[in-house]
């Protein structure tokens, strides 16, 4: 395998794979790198080989189509490979099977997707609690439900999808709990009518739950998870329009809980490379600044998919095609016509996706669910009270909170606590979260063993500059 490409795409989800296909179809030499073992990303994740005979779902079909297209193309697909460092000009350091290699390209496309946000509540780190989106990965890969009796809680359509999947896989859904009201959904209806197929799928999920007698608690939220070694039950309470709790808790028994509060774009790679970021609630929070066709302020760096704002799988795929075409065109390959078509499709599907994202936009009351004793940073075990003590001592920024409390200094690099911390700073200072940027991102993009980062070396060949002045 050569290590030089015209274009490297990082991320083999719908967006990155489509970007790679579009650029490859223009005759460019393209590599597609993903840390998973198969193309598909979060949403169209492939099943484990052992369960390939399981029934096909909408997701597996879409994923299979994408995997077939990539297989039939000239794309160099580098699977199970983690990009841990990117240098401008483009050299990528890629960790695969305990070996790090360097790949170079003329243009780089980042399609790093999204991750899940979970608003910390007391007990959310108890064993048996899963992310709502994270649970879908479990279903797709291994076809197992999270427990015997599961409570499914979260915002947007995902909560119904997850609940119906659990039932399909033979698990019991004790209840669906969603902060959204029926009214939120009525408001979303007009833009859903333009996508009858998707609306239909959603209706089937809800109908299935209702027929099975699964209680759906609208405009409610999980306030507490009980259980020492394993989830025993959860408390839920009613919310007002601003998602502040208005009622006493009631207890529901369960041995597992899926909990999620929407998705956050994975912006670290772009942010580290110097792409300016801005805050947009409607797109999931902090996003890198891009042009509509994926260009950035940095020469030959392109971004697409949920990493540029949460618009859903379909939009991610179209945006990928558009971005791949533009990256190819900038290298002198391709036509404007295809770009126009892709852009029109993208804009249409993005409108629908953003309607779904809107159901997960955090509201002011949400931060109160994180009580003083609740752990906010899981990696370093930092509670809200500790963070508030820093705030009271004068810390005013994500960086200052991180330095003072270690929140965000663990292996995840603050990916999972940054949002909750910004909320706390916002609350205390009265500033909007849009004024509270995340802490400075630090390389590597993924933890790497020191021996691999160091590479092989010969002591006598170490470049030892002249010693410091005496």
């Amino acid at each position: 395998m050569s290590d030089r490409f015209d274009i490297i795409v990082v991320g083999g989800g719908p967006s990155g794979a489509r970007a790679a296909l579009a650029a490859s179809a223009q005759g460019l030499n393209v590599a597609l790198i993903d840390e998973q073992s198969a193309i598909g990303g979060q949403v169209w994740r492939a099943k484990n080989a052992s369960i390939l005979s399981a029934p096909k779902t909408h997701e597996t079909r879409a994923g299979d189509a994408l995997r077939r297209d990539v297989l039939a193309s000239d794309i160099t697909h580098i699977e199970g490979a983690r990009v841990w460092q990117i240098e401008t000009g483009w050299t990528l350091h890629v960790l695969r099977k305990d070996v790090s290699s360097e790949l170079t390209c003329k243009s780089l496309v980042l399609a790093t997707g999204a991750r899940e946000y979970v608003q910390p509540v007391p007990g959310w780190t108890t064993s048996g609690v899963l992310g709502l989106a994270g649970a879908t990965a479990l279903f797709k890969q291994s076809l197992t439900p999270p427990g015997k009796r599961t409570i499914v809680s979260g915002t947007g359509p995902l909560v119904f999808f997850v609940a119906s999947e659990i039932r399909r896989l033979g698990g019991e859904v004790a209840a669906v709990v969603t902060p959204n009201s029926r009214r939120d959904w009525m408001r979303a209806l007009p833009s859903m009518l333009g996508r009858p197929a998707l609306l239909m799928r959603g209706a089937i999920w809800v109908a299935d739950l209702m027929l099975a007698g699964v209680p759906i608690y609208w405009q409610r939220v999980v306030t507490d998870v009980s259980g020492d070694d394993q989830v025993r039950g959860v408390s839920i309470a009613k919310l007002d329009q601003n998602w502040a709790r208005t009622s006493e808790d009631i207890m529901l028994a369960a041995d597992s809980l899926c909990l999620g509060n929407g998705l956050i774009p994975n912006i670290e790679a772009a942010h580290m490379l110097g792409v300016p970021i801005r805050h947009d609630h409607a797109l999931g929070g902090w996003i890198p600044e891009t042009t509509e066709d994926g260009g950035t302020s940095i020469d030959r760096l392109y971004l697409c998919g949920d990493g540029t704002g949460i618009r859903g799988a379909e939009a991610a795929a179209h945006q990928g095609t558009l971005t791949g075409l533009c990256a190819a065109a900038d290298l002198g390959h391709g036509t404007v016509n295809l770009q126009k078509q892709a852009k029109a499709k993208w804009l249409k599907s993005a409108r629908f996706g953003m309607t779904m994202t809107a159901l997960s936009i955090p509201r002011v009351g949400q931060a109160q669910l994180t009580t003083p004793e609740t752990i906010v940073c899981r990696c370093e075990n930092v509670t809200r009270a500790t963070i508030e003590a820093e705030l009271n001592a004068g810390a005013q920024s994500s960086n200052a909170i991180k330095s003072g409390s270690r929140a965000g200094m663990g292996p995840c690099g603050g990916k999972f606590c940054a949002t909750a911390i910004a909320q706390l700073i916002a609350q205390q200072s009265g500033a909007p979260v849009a004024n509270i940027p995340p802490a400075t991102p630090r390389p590597p993009l993924r933890p790497v063993p020191l021996s691999i980062a160091a590479g092989s070396f010969d002591y006598d060949a170490l470049p030892i500059p002249k010693p410091a002045p005496l």
Partner: protein, 363 residues
Amino acid sequence: MIYDTAIIGGGIMGCGSALRLAQGGQRVIVLDQGDLGQGASGVNAGTLSLQIKRVKLMPYALKGHACWEAMGKAVGFAKTGGYTLAFNAREAALLQERQTLKAQAGAPIEFVSNNQLRNGEPNLTQQVVSASYCAEDGYANASLTGQYYLGKLRDAGIEYRERCEVTAIERDKNFKLTTPQGTINATRILLAAGAWLKPLAALMDVHLPVQARVNTVTVTERMPPLMSTVIGHATGLLTMKQKANGTLLIGGGWQGLGTPQEGRGRVSVDTVRPNLALAQYAVPALGTARILRSWTGFEANVPDFYPLAGVLPGVEGAYVLGCVRGGYTIGPYISQLMGDYILGREPELPLFDPGRDFKEGTI
């Protein structure tokens, strides 16, 4: 409102000076373009080592160590002792020459036998040819600097403003500093802007020959105990220690990319790699530790690598403090001297005239 002294830069130099001036009865304000203590003072490797201090700065470093010891737990201080290693004959000769001079300057540095070394640090490589030891060495936790000084300023009732960049300085009867938070008036000013001293002094048409280095530091995940002291290399190109929580901090002044003017530095793989290779060479068991973060910080210096500490040349009432090699170690002390000087007192040890001829070796 006219402050007695406005301090531009809220790193260790600016905050330390502010505390001294306030003790002396002055009304001071500290201004920082970012957050307090998030410049070099907040991102450095935190090594408090006499073994890597310059000979002529040793008296300041010894006093600095005493200051850190007094600050104690609040800054994550630990006196662990430290070894400096040589892996070949050339390095051993360098070590011998340098540590002898440093010991003569007052640092309690001794050479140790292979057995003593192995007793102290059993996980070290067998490749060590020669090693020196200093019981005074240790570290503090640089990320706590901002928090610590912020608390001290508050306790002392000293005003400070964050996200308050000084963009223009006018001088008539008083100094008038333009900031996004309004104009600040002060009788005196102290420039303590670290790697940004050059553009800051340029606002008053003073040329300071300040250059910036872009030092890199790397931290690993938590590991079982691998070392108990601060470990360095004869060339100064490696410093490492394991914190109480098990994480390992690896530095050594390897250069990243970027300039202070651009705002942020960038880690360069080309320099991180040899830094980590050297660390792994010294302690082979480090190989399995996962790297969590690397970062850079800007360290300022002038051509002779001695501090700027005194009157800003040609501007009455303006002072400058910065460019101190090993400035984290020496900062808490030299900032007291600076405070005393501004208060009109005789400093305990001499300062370093910013108006000197940097090429002549006048120090």
